[in-house]
């Protein structure tokens, strides 16, 4: 039995999504910008997809801009807002210290262009304190970007509260919702955000499709220039097959999020309790509200890199930290930001469950782990 517990990295396509991709690639293959029948059919697929995403987010279809994925959506949000607001004299950005690299490295790029940036620290819970965000906001702040759920530990951030503060101080609010869509209900109006990023392949859609949701009236400049696609907000022929798959996954997510949340929460809790009980010297990283599918666990006296490989050799796929260019592991910037000691940033594994995860899989992981950990600890002691 192979066990895939790395849904936060990516997920398999749902059947409906795969069927939609194929259909849009073979039947409705036209260029949505074309005037003729084939173009119109493809345009209709895009329109339907926009509606599906709007339903999922409780927004309006006109606010949905399709991108190549979460990273492009984050880039478009931050750079697009920065470009639009630069003439007004705003030159400051705020984010949490535990954002995804798509946000952090875009901040760095803007810093090289003369923008100043503030990364708000998090405590050991892995949750951003809105008061710290407030302290960071200045009259020159153009945008605040805080992820809705953290990819490594799953903690849910108080976005609505932070968005209110941003709004009160004239800054735009962006949230990277890549890890929350499909796991918890997401309502852009209730959150009060101006910009939201999502990525299809994290919720059983295809890779290569994402969305930047832009609240009506928010002024942005496009980061890709070219034709007049996506209402001049994102140039380039839309990836219709992937967007059709995204839409199918969005419908599934909207329909199943409550039930799946409960089911995954129970599985995750069973896994977490099972591991803490079966393996001594373990601890869960992060506390407070979390997305229901994720747990991040430290294993004392074990190199996470080795445990990950040992698990893979048993057919169990999990992950840790963030992979670098060659695929080796670097100490997690998230766990470091939470103030964990160095050894714990290097001995932690992330287990993330999803649509096809089962109780048998959970039990298999709990069954296999103690032996592997034991073996690795013996070597460590030599």
């Amino acid at each position: 039995m192979r066990v895939y517990f790395d849904y936060n990295a990516t997920s398999p396509m749902a059947e409906d999504a795969a069927a939609a991709v194929t259909s849009a690639g073979r039947e409705t293959f036209g260029n949505p910008s074309s005037v003729h029948h084939f173009g119109q059919r493809a345009k209709a697929v895009l329109d339907e997809a926009r509606s599906a995403v709007a339903t999922l987010l409780h927004g309006d279809p006109s606010e949905v801009v399709f991108t190549s994925g979460g990273t492009e959506a984050d880039n478009a949000a931050i750079r697009g807002a920065a470009d639009a607001l630069e003439p007004s004299g705003k030159r400051h950005l705020v984010a949490s210290a535990i954002e995804h690299e798509a946000v952090l490295n875009t901040f760095k790029a803007l810093a090289r262009r003369g923008w100043s940036t503030t990364l708000v620290p998090v405590g050991s819970t892995g949750i951003v304190d809105p008061d710290r965000v407030l302290e960071a906001i200045t009259p020159g702040t153009a945008l605040v970007s805080v992820m809705q759920a953290n990819n490594e530990i799953g903690t849910i951030q108080p976005i609505a509260e932070i968005a209110r503060m941003a709004r009160e101080h004239g800054a735009l609010m962006h949230t990277d919702a890549v890890q929350s869509i499909g796991k918890i209900p997401v309502d852009v109006r209730a959150l009060g955000v101006d910009l939201l990023s999502l990525s299809a392949h994290k919720f059983n859609g295809p890779k290569g499709a994402g969305v930047l949701w832009i609240k009506r009236g928010v002024r942005m400049l496009p980061i890709l220039t070219g034709g007049k696609h996506e209402r001049n907000r994102r140039a380039g022929t839309e990836n219709v097959p992937a967007i059709a798959g995204l839409a199918a996954a969005a419908r599934l997510a909207a329909q199943k999020v409550d039930a799946e949340g409960l089911r995954l929460g129970a599985l995750r809790d069973r896994l977490e309790a099972g591991i803490l009980n079966a393996v001594d010297g373990t601890a869960v990283n992060g506390a407070g509200p979390r997305v229901p599918n994720t747990t991040n666990i430290s294993f004392d006296r074990v190199e996470a890199e080795s445990l990950l490989i040992a698990l893979d050799l048993e057919g169990i796929a999990v992950s840790t930290g963030s992979a670098c260019s060659s695929g080796t592991l670097e100490p997690s910037h998230v766990l470091r930001a939470m103030g964990l000691p160095t050894h714990r940033t290097q001995n932690s594994l992330r287990f993330s469950l999803g649509l096809y995860s089962t109780e048998q899989e959970v039990d298999r992981v709990v069954d296999v782990l103690p032996r592997l950990v034991d073996k690795l600890r013996k070597v460590g002691r030599r």
Binding site: E305, S306, L313, C324, S325, S326, G327, T328, L329, V379
Partner: protein
């Protein structure tokens, strides 16, 4: 290889080169449970460091592609810190001390068959295989593991493996040691391994552009002090920009002209005074040397023994006698384990910091670091 039960798990250290790729392929073909591990040895995120003959980003990709072709699991482990501490640091210190280091030997005994082997144990693998041209087997009579030269004498790498302990040799497998290089390449081509025609690695993997001097200066600026070039009588012939730029036996780039017109060679390096001593070729000749941290693979060799001794990678091993000196019962491989080698004929450029390896025919009797 016959000593390994086919069901046993074997970790293969895959550098991305043709030799370790074929080593992995051979073991997989024999039905072993093979895991490919590649070591990331330095920060790959800096695009200006795209040099190299081994373990660069391209090589790691090559290793991954090979693993996919032969259908074995493959992982890259980050050994940057360990490599820096076990290999690079020593390399720099040796140059700073006026010696000429041999990092590949340290990498074998202090990294591949140490850190990597420990990781292998953790993954349930008893054996560690590499793509070295050498052979290892167990001698029932002496109850010790033997290390022998690779069958392809032109490619033999036993010189770089002399410091492996008995425990390390017990876990070592060298699948290409029985093969000529051409067979290895043919095998790789037959399996359509994407590395079949990669050039052989030559340089030191972590030194960009074969420029050790700049590397050492950057890492240890205090060692890169200018000094004088003197002849054997102490006459100053000129200046230099740091003894780390020189190695005993070097002829080119001395920056001084010979008063007699005869070619000059580096005879000795004196780090304390930052002095480079030069002289005629005849002054490079020595018939004796001593070595430290001597590893005895054949335990009986400690008593005076006729051998051939090899003093650098590309040196024809020369007839000599070796015997343990000092604390003759010192543990193998520890600094106090020392030996003296007396050559039958004078040898050119016995270089401190390089290894001297003792052979009895094909068998490595032992070896140590030249004082």
């Amino acid at each position: 290889m016959t000593r390994v039960d086919p069901s046993r798990r074997i970790v293969v250290a895959m550098s991305g080169g043709v030799d370790s790729s074929v080593a992995a392929a051979l073991l997989a073909e024999q039905g072993h449970d093979v895991i490919g591990l590649s070591m990331q040895l330095y920060d790959q995120s800096d695009p200006t460091r795209s040099f190299g003959s081994c373990c660069s980003l391209d090589d790691l990709h090559d290793a991954r592609r090979v693993a996919a072709v032969i259908d074995i699991p493959h992982y890259i482990m980050n050994f940057e810190k360990q490599f820096d501490a076990q290999v690079v640091d020593n390399f720099v210190k040796e140059y700073a001390a006026g010696r000429t280091p041999l990092p590949c030997a340290h990498c074998n005994s202090d990294l591949k068959f140490a850190t990597l082997a420990d990781r292998a144990t953790g993954l349930g693998a008893e054996f560690v295989a590499t793509g070295h041209y050498a052979r290892v087997d167990y001698d029932d009579a002496t109850r010790r593991y033997r290390l022998r030269r690779g069958v392809d004498r032109a490619k033999d790498q036993s010189y770089f493996l002399f410091s492996l302990s008995q425990a390390q040799l017990a876990r070592a497998i060298f699948p290409v040691g029985d093969l000529p290089k051409e067979d290895v390449r043919d095998y790789a081509r037959r399996l359509r391994l994407p590395v079949a025609d990669n050039p052989d690695s030559q340089e030191i993997c972590f030194i960009p552009d074969v420029d050790s001097a700049s590397f050492v200066k950057q890492r240890a600026p205090e060692a890169a002090l200018p000094g004088e070039v003197v002849d054997e009588a102490g006459h100053v012939l000129g200046g230099h920009e740091g003894i780390h730029r020189f190695t005993v036996g070097q002829r080119r780039g001395l920056g001084v002209s010979s008063p007699t017109g005869a070619p000059l060679y580096v005879i000795a390096l004196r780090p304390a005074a930052a002095t480079v001593v030069v002289g005629p070729k005849a002054s490079l000749e020595r018939t004796t040397l001593t070595a430290s941290s001597v590893n005895w693979i054949d335990a009986q060799a400690r008593v005076s023994r006729r051998i051939t001794a090899q003093i650098r990678h590309r040196h024809q091993a020369a007839p000599a006698s070796v015997c343990a000196i000092g604390d003759v019962s010192a543990a193998e491989g520890t600094p106090a384990s020392r030996a003296e080698v007396i050559f039958d004929e004078p040898q050119i450029a016995i270089t401190p910091g390089q290894a001297v390896v003792f052979y009895d025919g094909d068998a490595v009797v032992g070896g140590g670091w030249i004082d």
